[in-house]
């Protein structure tokens, strides 16, 4: 294993791996929440965490790998667009489900029609 000084040297020069590890942690946190929560809105929030992790990855690659244009950031912008659209539709679905079934726990939404 590395000595403390080598670890400190590696950690104090922020590079691509730092961002990749951070985004992997954020994605795993979102994944854990997605598999663990029962309400519709918390599930959507965990999906947003995962999408944020992906955007961080895209921007970090765009910054730290030799790039000839800003394609990585452009992909991140489109990812944000898709995430916002999906969240809007998901929240509209949540409203509708709440109005019809009076519940927002996904375990109780187990029929296609009453």
């Amino acid at each position: 294993m590395m000595s403390f000084m080598e670890l400190f040297q590696w950690a104090s020069h922020v590079g691509l791996t730092h961002f990749l590890l951070f985004s992997a942690l954020l994605f795993s946190a979102g994944l854990f929440g997605l598999l663990t929560k029962k309400g519709i809105i918390p599930l959507l929030m965990c999906v947003e965490l995962m999408l944020n992790a992906v955007n961080i990855n895209l921007v970090a690659f765009s910054r730290y790998l030799p790039a000839r244009d800003y394609a990585g950031q452009l992909m991140a912008v489109f990812s944000i667009v898709v995430a916002a659209a999906e969240l809007a539709v998901g929240v509209a679905l949540a409203f509708r489900v709440y109005r019809d079934r009076r519940t927002v726990q996904v375990d109780e939404l187990d029929r296609l029609r009453d």
């Binding site: 400190f8 795993s28 994944l31 918390p42 947003e48 916002a84 929240v91």
Partner: protein
């Protein structure tokens, strides 16, 4: 007494390393590392808050704080346009939408409105998340990435505009259609079918 001694040893090691790094004129790198670890740590803390807070309103506020920390990371990396878009869209629209969704799908007991599944589900989810984390960490640490990337000339907004209207105009138009479809779908779903 031993813990005090080991704590003092750790502090001494840290101070010595900091002095050594400062003596080697690496203060800019240290500042950048400090900024990164602060905002990354805060973002992970707030992400844990999203999952583990029991009140869904607290959870939504924690999610907003996560978005803002990620925006600060974008600013620190030099992607100012992405940081601004993150604050505007995620912190300004997504967060508001989620809080509105929470408000309009209220239950009576808001203090416990963010339930989780049982211990077995927690264990399985933790195993899966740790597995994914190990796989990603292996890829991140073992891949030989080419280094020494120079900063691109010009600012990101102009570069993105050039790309979006020349080479990526098809995804740009498709994104516009997607937004229109999402808008219409959301309005249709949220209203009654005969009102819309």
């Amino acid at each position: 007494m031993e813990t005090v001694q080991s704590a003092l040893t750790v502090v001494h090691g840290l101070v010595a390393a900091a002095l050594e790094a400062a003596a080697a004129y690496e203060v800019p790198a240290l500042i950048e590392a400090g900024v990164f670890f602060t905002f990354a740590g805060l973002a992970l803390l707030f992400a844990c808050g999203v999952i583990f807070l029991r009140n869904v309103v607290h959870s939504a506020l924690s999610l907003t704080a996560t978005f803002l920390c990620v925006a600060c990371l974008y600013f620190s990396i030099g992607a100012e346009f992405m940081g601004a878009v993150q604050i505007l869209v995620y912190g300004g629209a997504v967060a508001i939408l989620i809080v509105m969704a929470v408000m309009l799908t209220r239950r009576d007991d808001m203090a416990r409105s963010n339930p989780s599944r049982g211990v077995a589900a927690h264990a399985a989810a933790a195993a899966l998340a740790v597995l994914f984390l190990l796989a990603m960490a292996a890829v991140a640490l073992l891949s030989p990435f080419p280094g020494g990337a120079p900063e691109l000339p010009g600012d990101a907004a102009a570069g993105l505009a050039d790309l979006m209207l020349s080479r990526y105009v098809l995804p740009f138009e498709a994104a516009a259609v997607l937004l229109l479809a999402a808008l219409m779908g959301a309005v249709l779903l949220a209203k009654e079918a005969d009102e819309a």
